[in-house]
């Protein structure tokens, strides 16, 4: 009998991702409704130190695989580790944050157990004793509700910022499991970090984005200043990326990142359908654009029709005052 709602507690360099806490918080609710236990899975090197941080979000148990071979994420290493646990303890549900790692890992584990995986979800609910997931598809132009009724574990990846992370400390039982060596065919030759104080785009609560209206790469400094006041990430439209002003990792949209921040500030972005596809699930959208007919105003909660080169610096100053108060 499969049992347990499991959350993959994603960590990188000794930090558990916020999305994992979000999933544990919401996981607690569905586990209680289904009468199942809530468990976290922690995989890596020296991750035993992280069990306390994970416990704060209320799992009943934490399965830990701590091994030198798992210091850095590799597809095979982590797939082997998580699969060993799944095989041994047979959870009924396995949840991941929809991050680069969550996506990569979940697909491999899902196929190893020949089960279903619903990705990029923005909701989950219990309906007739089944977990039903909400997934935006066709770049958010349609929504499907889906479940994995038979195969186990039922798997899903869930977008960061979908649920609130709510502390609910519990004395979780920690279960250490050996890493059953397996081939790791991906050999990491190099890791290149872009040092940035700013949050990761897909996880950020606030995003300040620029488009063709920024006119050139040097002007992104304006957005960075605004972002720094808000603790925000910086994003961009494809036009800004294609012009070579910022790297593709900044692109928001159908062929860029999908983001659901609390606040999205679009500066000099017209609001093409492919851009909206990546950000229209933001809770609050602000548009600053000099063209009052721009499509972005159709989705914006607040708009300023004006020259961003005038508006943004003043906004930055105003917000600085407000944030300090």
């Amino acid at each position: 009998m499969a049992k347990g709602i499991w959350v993959f507690a994603e960590q990188r360099e000794g930090q558990v991702k916020k999305v994992s806490f979000e999933l544990l918080s919401e996981g607690r609710k569905v586990a209680d409704q289904l009468g199942e236990e809530l468990c976290a899975v922690l995989v890596g090197k020296n991750v035993s130190d992280l069990t306390e941080a994970v416990s704060a979000y209320g799992p009943d148990k934490i399965y830990v695989i701590d091994n030198d071979a798992l210091e850095n994420y590799t597809t095979d290493g982590y797939t082997n580790a998580v699969s060993d646990l799944v095989k041994k303890y047979e959870p009924s549900v396995l949840l991941f944050g929809c991050t680069v790692t969550g996506r990569d890992l979940s697909a491999q584990v899902a196929q190893r157990f020949q089960t279903g995986l619903m990705t990029d979800c923005t909701g989950m609910e219990v309906v007739d004793g089944q977990l039903v997931f909400t997934r935006p598809i066709y770049a958010g132009k349609a929504i499907v509700k889906a479940s994995c009724p038979e195969a186990r574990p039922a798997m899903a990846t869930i977008r960061p910022n979908t649920f609130a992370a709510v502390e609910n400390a519990k004395q979780a039982e920690v279960i250490n499991v050996e890493y059953g060596a397996g081939d790791i065919r991906q050999v990491i030759k190099d890791i290149i970090r872009q040092v940035s104080e700013r949050p990761e785009l897909t996880e950020a609560n606030i995003i300040v984005s620029g488009g063709r209206g920024m006119k050139g790469p040097e002007n992104f400094k304006l957005l960075e200043d605004l972002a720094d006041v808000l603790g925000a990430a910086v994003g961009a439209s494809r036009a800004a990326v294609d012009a070579g002003w910022v790297s593709h990792s900044f692109q928001v949209g159908q062929t860029g990142k999908t983001v659901s921040p609390v606040l999205y500030i679009a500066c000099g972005i017209s609001g093409a359908i492919q851009h909206l596809a990546g950000m229209s699930s933001a809770k609050c959208i602000v548009a600053i654009n000099k063209d009052e007919e721009a499509n972005i105003f159709k989705v914006a909660d607040y708009g300023i029709v004006g020259d961003l080169f005038e508006v943004v610096p003043i906004l930055t100053e105003e917000l600085k005052k407000i944030m300090a108060s």
Binding site: V100, A107, Q108, M118, T119, A139, V144, K145, D190
Partner: protein, 256 residues
């Protein structure tokens, strides 16, 4: 070097989505394109081939109109196309990957390329699943790929940076934007493509029956999202408006 490219035909990014009378996504009358990420995969395959010797085969699971996307790849320069038409059954990523892996299992290959994600109902899992089924390594979201001496060095995008991964071939890779700039098919390429082989198969031809590929995920209902309402445009000169916006974000929207 034998290179296989998994290619999906998807809705055009401009397509308006509606529901049909059964409450499913209406596909009639929608213009279709090659999944944009798969264009990067096709291009990369061609570049690898052009550096040495090789053959590029594009493979798709889909209905007969998927031939258009396959022809486009042939026009870009791919050598052969394989289309597996599973008929009128519901597929999920498990099903699609099973069909692809079964088809590929009977072929020779050194490299499998695909897109990192299909932009329609895609979910960034089909190629990974295929790799798992074929028991070969996968490297996802690749922005640079170098092949040498039976090995590949792949640069992949990760949060906050990138990683360089080495794998031995055969291996699978999924393309991220940045990998290359896909070429447009030339007139000559389009003419040539008409004569290139298009191998059309059924499920039975690849040795599968419907039960073996029954979807694990069941779609329960489809809906269209409520259109976002336009909010307020803040009047006034730049300074005034910016100040008011800052106030509204804190006091009304309570997002900062």
């Amino acid at each position: 070097m034998k290179i296989l490219v998994c290619l999906k035909q998807t809705f055009d990014t401009e397509a308006k989505i509606t529901l049909d009378s059964n409450g499913k996504i209406e596909s009639k009358g929608v213009s279709m394109i090659m999944n944009p990420y798969d264009e990067f995969a096709v291009e990369e395959a061609l570049r690898i081939k052009e550096k040495g010797e090789g053959e590029v085969t594009v493979i798709s699971v889909g209905g007969q109109q998927t031939q258009d996307a396959l022809r486009q790849a042939l026009a870009m320069g791919a050598d052969k196309a394989v289309l597996v038409d599973p008929g009128e059954i519901e597929l999920d990523e498990f099903s699609t990957a099973t069909v692809l892996a079964k088809t590929i299992g009977g072929m020779e290959y050194d490299i499998i390329l695909g897109g990192f994600r299909a932009i329609d109902d895609g979910s960034a899992q089909v190629v990974g699943r295929v790799a798992e089924l074929l028991n070969i390594p996968v490297v996802n979201v690749v922005t640079k790929l170098e092949i040498e001496g039976g090995k590949a060095l792949a640069t992949r995008e990760v949060e906050g940076g990138s990683e360089v991964i080495e794998v031995a071939l055969p291996a699978a890779f999924t393309a991220q934007k940045g990998l290359n700039e896909p070429r447009y098919p030339s007139m000559k390429g389009i003419m040539k493509a008409k004569k290139k082989p298009m191998d059309k198969k059924t499920l039975a031809d690849v040795g599968l029956d419907e039960n073996q590929i029954a979807a694990k995920v069941k779609a329960l209902s489809f809906s269209l999202p409520e259109a976002r309402q336009a909010g307020k445009v803040i009047p006034g000169e730049a300074a005034e408006a910016a100040k008011e916006l800052a106030r509204l974000l804190r006091e009304e929207a309570k997002v900062i």
